[in-house]
């Protein structure tokens, strides 16, 4: 089968599932059939994408196929595929993870009434994400970028009976929508300047055609879109609230795919971004700031999903910082590895919440005794957490090492220091969570339902990928990611510094949370004055946005409606009423006296005659 056909299958398999679910499997009793159809089709898509990966990875030329979507005298827009190495890898990751998550969510959503609507939206989301990954045209990716926003809105607000998911959904959509304006503005500016926004053109010729000043503005606007979607500093507060949605949703969307889309776009357009130094530093600072703030906020969080959400924001900030510093290969590698272990952690969180009677609080999970917790799940929890910290054998270490390595080579020592601090904090709060959750509580839960096999397979496959997956592909990846097959002095020095940092953090968190008699909740944060208060208010970001919306939007709308009702309408009505008032006066002229009529007639005629005599 030709590569294009394979690509079509992997892209549209989810779309076919979406169509089947929404239009054909409508009856109530068919809802499980719908779920099964969705899983098999996304599985097919994942398989085909893997085949495509193996067949095309070694080829250097990119597969392009496109059709003109819209054409006018000064511009043209295309819809189609542009499959180069970067998008191929991203395609496979997304297909595989979405297949695993859909399999897992069959177990998670079995007793939920809206399972059909859930699978419909999930498949629609996967299709949009996959097409975004491979789309040839920045405009095409903008289209799917918006569809991603819609799908995440529908999924966050899936349980729309409760008010919090509704509020979280609208907050997510508005914030990302605000960000999307930046991306749209960038797309339009590029279109105005270059008459096309096809990515191959952008990567090769764009830098030369545009002035550096223009490139700076385009990249800044582009980055505004990325900030919205990938939850960078000012626009990040929607992601923690998005945890209101079902956990598999967070696993797929808010860890691996959608939030990664922004970073992926930066990676894909790196050649264009590289043209403007000031834009790179701007990205670097925002990335670093986001990563730091998110890490700090995760320190004292009690809700397991929020911890993972903050860690995602922090890791995304980390990748953006890496790209800002020029290490785009490292950033991209970290993106891939992070997708696997973060989605696994979310799925495990789903299991632990399910097991702790639907409460997200890690301390209530801690109360459950070892007997009831499945040994496999706890083991996988530790695998995921250590990968997140970046400990040696796991995939997290590989990608973080590459980033630290290229930072060292680029002599960005300041950035290197910040990265170290972030990895220390990440290791601390992740292992804090792992220690608390895996405590041996005294509550013995009788009905320990044995986990179905497919659920175990899906989670453990992700575990395998974090453990050994990337080691298997390492030889193939080394030349793409400039990894050093044999290590010299720098690599060793780099290795020691990072590992010492991580081990130190694990030790501290063991001291506070790992020991039997450890009872503290906040750990060392309670010693630093004001920090916990700052964390409580989430660095006042939410208050800032609330102030903007209330003071900005609602005040202006009240004002404009007031002008509409009190000024424009009043003028219009007054025009009508003056006519009626003059009517009253004119009618009052008719006093009914005949002689009055004749007098007025004669006087008027006299005036006319006098005017005529003297006028002419």
């Amino acid at each position: 089968m030709s590569h294009l056909a394979l690509l079509n299958i992997s892209v549209f398999s989810n779309f076919v599932a979406f169509l089947l679910i929404t239009f054909f499997l409508k009856k109530k009793e068919q809802r499980f059939l719908a779920a099964k159809v969705a899983i098999t089709l996304s599985g097919l898509g994942a398989l085909v994408s893997c085949v495509l990966l193996f067949q095309r990875f070694h080829l250097d030329i990119a597969l392009t196929a496109s059709v003109t979507w819209l054409k006018w005298n000064t511009g043209e827009l295309l819809i189609g595929y542009y499959l180069d190495k970067v998008s191929l890898m991203m395609l496979t990751t997304v297909c595989v993870i979405s297949f695993m998550v859909q399999m897992y969510s069959f177990w998670y959503m079995k007793d939920d009434a809206g399972i059909r609507r859930y699978y419909g939206t999930i498949t629609f989301f996967s299709w949009a994400m996959i097409f975004f990954v491979v789309s040839i045209d920045l405009f095409g990716s903008y289209i799917f970028w918006e569809l991603l926003g819609l799908a995440s809105y529908l999924l966050i607000g899936f349980w729309h009976e409760k008010p919090e998911p509704r509020r979280a959904a609208i907050k997510a959509f508005i914030m990302t929508r605000f960000g999307d304006l930046g991306l749209l503005a960038a797309v339009i500016l590029l279109l105005v300047k270059l008459k096309t926004v096809a990515i191959p053109v952008l990567i090769t010729a764009a830098g030369t055609l545009l002035s550096p000043q223009e490139v700076f503005w385009i990249v800044v606007l582009l980055f505004l879109g990325v900030m919205g979607k990938s939850a960078q500093f000012p626009l990040h507060s929607w992601l923690p609230d998005a945890m209101e949605g079902p956990t598999p949703v967070s696993a797929l969307i808010h860890s691996a795919t959608m939030v990664a889309a922004g970073v992926y776009l930066l990676v894909r357009l790196f050649p264009l971004i590289a043209f403007s130094e000031s834009a790179m530093t701007y990205i670097l600072c925002i990335g670093a700031l986001t990563s730091l703030i998110a890490a700090v906020m995760a320190l004292t969080e009690k809700d397991m999903k929020r911890i993972l959400a903050y860690s995602t924001v922090s890791q995304l900030g980390f990748m953006v910082m890496a790209i800002g510093a020029g290490a785009w290969q490292g950033g991209f590698f970290h993106l891939l590895t992070h997708a696997f272990f973060k989605s696994m952690l979310f799925l495990l969180a789903g299991y632990f919440i399910h097991m702790a009677h639907h409460s997200n609080d890690i301390f209530s999970m801690a109360k459950v005794s070892y007997g009831t917790k499945s040994k496999l799940m706890v083991a996988l929890l530790w695998v995921g957490s250590l990968a997140l910290c970046g400990l040696f054998p796991l995939s997290g270490f590989l990608s973080k090492e590459t980033i630290f390595g290229s930072l060292m080579e680029g002599h960005h020592y300041g950035v290197y220091g910040v990265a170290l601090l972030i990895s220390f904090l990440t290791a601390y709060y992740t292992t804090r969570m792992a220690f608390i959750v895996s405590r041996n509580g005294e509550v013995v839960d009788a009905q320990e339902n044995s986990l179905p096999l497919y659920m175990k397979i899906s989670v453990s496959f992700l575990g395998l990928m974090t453990l050994i997956g990337f080691w298997i592909f390492l030889p193939a990846l080394t030349e793409f990611f400039h990894l050093h097959s044999e290590w010299h002095a720098e690599q060793w020095v780099n290795f020691f510094i990072t590992t010492i940092g991580v081990v130190l953090a694990i030790g501290v968190s063991y001291f506070y949370f790992g020991r039997k008699q450890a009872t503290s909740e906040k750990g060392w944060v309670s010693f630093i004055p004001g920090l916990s208060g700052l964390i409580e208010n989430k660095f006042f970001v939410d208050h800032f946005w609330k102030w903007v919306v209330d003071k900005g939007v609602y005040r202006f709308s009240r004002m404009s409606f007031w002008t509409d009702v009190h000024i424009i309408n009043v003028i219009v009505d007054q025009v009508g009423l003056t006519a009626i008032r003059c009517g009253k006066k004119a009618a009052a002229l008719q006093m009914g006296q005949v002689q009055q009529y004749i007098i007025t007639a004669v006087v008027v005629s006299l005036f006319v005659v006098i005017y005529l005599i003297f006028g002419k």
């Binding site: 002689q595 007098i599 004669v602 006087v603 006299l606």
Partner: protein, 176 residues
């Protein structure tokens, strides 16, 4: 001497006309007004003779002074309007109309004096009754017929209106 007498008689007729007119309009009692109207009409008939249209003067006396003023006097006598006490006059209305008419008079006479009339002092052309008859029959025959229709209509109409009995069948919606 002869021209003096003609001037005097002319002045006499002018005084009669104007005096009658002023009395016809000024006096309070409606009966006196009607009589002074008749006087004015006789005065104008005299003026007509000076203007060398004797036939018209005759008709004036016969119809105008005779028939019309008598009709007015009949109307006054038949309807008890004599006994009606005249209600108070509104001074403003009189002032306005007086000023308007004086203004018109002054303007008209000023204009008459200053317009260069192309005048032939000696009357030329035939103003005999025969010529009048010829012209009426030839040129204004149609108008002549119309006059008969007008007179028919006015007589018939005044009869119909006068004999209409008092009962009012319908009541319009009060407007105010």
């Amino acid at each position: 001497m002869l021209s003096l007498i003609t001037d005097l008689t002319f002045l006499f007729f002018v005084v009669v006309t104007l005096g009658g007119a002023v009395m016809a309009v000024g006096l309070k009692n409606i009966f006196h007004n009607a009589l002074s109207l008749a006087l004015t009409l006789f005065g104008t008939a005299g003026i007509f003779i000076f203007l060398r249209s004797e036939f018209v003067a005759l008709i004036q006396i016969l119809i105008y002074a005779g028939a019309i003023s008598i009709a007015i006097i009949f109307a006054i006598m038949l309807s008890p309007s004599l006994s009606l006490k005249p209600s108070k006059r509104s001074v403003t209305k009189i002032l306005i109309s007086l000023s308007v008419s004086l203004l018109v008079f002054v303007a008209l006479s000023y204009i008459f004096i200053h317009t260069p009339w192309v005048v032939l002092p000696e009357m030329v052309g035939d103003n005999s009754v025969k010529h009048i008859g010829e012209v009426i029959i030839q040129r204004y025959a149609f108008a002549f017929e119309l006059i008969s229709v007008v007179l028919l209509v006015s007589i018939l109409g005044s009869l119909v209106i006068a004999q209409k009995d008092k009962k009012t069948t319908i009541q319009d919606s009060p407007n105010d």
